[in-house]
Symmetry: C2
């Protein structure tokens, strides 16, 4: 385990992933308070919301307002998601949004068609236009995501070669457009990865671009979130997207009794890192307090572990 990174960055997805899947809209005051608590934990990046169609995602329609209410903390990037140019322009004109470019690729054609009504290849070509748009606005292209990188509930297992093909496209595109290579993010959108496939894919991506920073967006749908994060750490990955208290939850849940797990849980992942001697810059106790507040806001048990048990520091001799 000699490849463990010394410092790992966590990017918090909870405020968006968590509240966008809920059937109700939670009071903006409570969501503001939660983000303000997160700002004090040491997190460097918090995704606040999304500028997407209020017809499809009414839970996010007050994202602009939310950005105006939060107490911006120096050194924290407050990001938003957009999926079309209208959303991008809205983000641009909203105070407090940290503007950075992100490119989105789909390893699953069926998933791309479902989400975007276009094929994965058309989606890929569109990313060229997005990159140019970001350049025009002098925005750094921060990260490029390949979604459903391990498998897809609509398409089945995804051959590794298809994912690598997307990453090759990204590497070539950055070269052609003369921008620095963005962080290459493997997104296990529907929880198909396992520690072996995670290590294999990370190794193959590193072979394509040894100089690249590699990140992972992990979902804990089937319980392998933390084993996969551990596998990625052992491959030297030092950036993860995760969700406070495991907020999120998968719309593909089979069993009505309880929501299926969402993103890998931020505070559990940070507990793991700290136990392994890896620094994160994050105060676990403050993060646990925020997770407990999130559970109060949602009003239902959330699936984080360490938020219920507490950490270990207070027991140490």
């Amino acid at each position: 385990m000699s490849d463990l990174p010394k410092f790992v960055e966590f990017r918090e997805e909870g405020p968006r992933e968590g509240f966008q899947i809920e059937p109700k809209i939670y009071p903006i005051e409570e969501r503001t308070q939660l983000i303000d608590m997160l700002s004090e934990t040491g997190l460097q990046q918090i995704q606040v919301g999304s500028f997407v169609s209020p017809r499809y995602v009414p839970q996010m329609q007050d994202t602009g307002d939310l950005f105006q209410r939060i107490k911006r903390k120096d050194g924290v990037r407050y990001t938003a998601l957009w999926l079309n140019e209208k959303g991008f322009q809205k983000a641009l004109s909203t105070p407090n949004v940290t503007m950075e470019g992100r490119l989105l690729f789909y390893a699953s054609d069926a998933f791309s068609r479902k989400n975007n009504n276009i094929s994965a290849l058309e989606m890929r070509e569109n990313q060229r236009n997005w990159l140019r748009l970001y350049k025009e606005h002098d925005l750094k292209v921060d990260a490029a995501y390949v979604m459903a990188a391990f498998g897809c509930n609509f398409e089945g297992a995804i051959p590794m070669e298809r994912v690598l093909d997307d990453f090759r496209f990204i590497i070539d595109l950055a070269k052609e457009e003369e921008v620095p290579l963005p962080t290459l993010v493997l997104a296990d959108t529907m929880g198909w990865g396992n520690p072996q496939s995670v290590k294999r894919l990370i190794g193959a991506v590193r072979d394509l671009a040894p100089e690249a920073r590699i990140g992972m967006h992990i979902h804990d749908t089937r319980g392998l979130g933390l084993p996969n994060l551990q596998a990625a750490l052992e491959m030297g990955v030092d950036m993860f997207e995760s969700s406070l208290a495991g907020l999120g939850g998968c719309p593909f849940a089979e069993h009505g009794n309880f929501r299926a797990a969402g993103n890998v849980c931020t505070e559990d992942a940070i507990f793991l890192c700290h136990e392994l001697g890896i620094e994160t810059g994050i105060d676990l106790e403050k993060l646990i307090a925020a997770a407990r507040r999130a559970e109060e806001i949602i009003g239902a048990p959330l699936m984080g572990r360490v938020m219920h048990s507490g950490g270990l520091d207070k027991f140490r001799n």
Copy 2:
């Protein structure tokens, strides 16, 4: 990851660990039905209940009755826990109990005093008497447990040397008493282990007794249950004690809103093994059905992942 075992045995602790921590006593018909469902999954061992003081653990007072009601399936071992000779005699005289000896050691003195009112060293000496009692009754000594092997909420971190000392005692005892070496079980009773400490301790135990079978009893208190199980798999461990749906839960929970996690979740662990190509002899779909039934019986969300999301086989091309 070349040391992964080809076949891993899971021993189901849910019926005991799960129901003994609940404040109420669930109908015996429902617990019988759950055990009967588990018998059909391919599990080789199911811990049905315990013969302990009804004053302290009233939830287990009908264990004898439960043993009589279950449909015994050939090839499945139905075990029980006892902590004193009275309990042992009760188990002996109860039909359907698979009688095997287990030895219990405490790496934490404070935990031993709390659970047994005697020191860890006195507890250890008592195990010599237990072993002789098992021999007298011609019972195989199946496993020897060192509890709180990684740390203890009452005592803090546990030095590895203390754990190894217990295992040395066990190895010497088996030699002196001329019985086969039992499976050496590392029990992370309060969720203190991490993938590094798990690998380190397993390696050290294997150095003491290269011929021994090593097992783990894992709690998921702080979310590291599956990463630790993965680490143990990579060290060749092929026996785990786990709990359906993550039943169990820790009495040391800090946060009133929701129970802290209990044992590592059987069906999530089995999903992990199957994804890694490791056989378990267990039908995941049947196990998921049992986990969902357990959630209905408990009447509160349980923390298993795959029971809510479903497995992957039906999506595979």
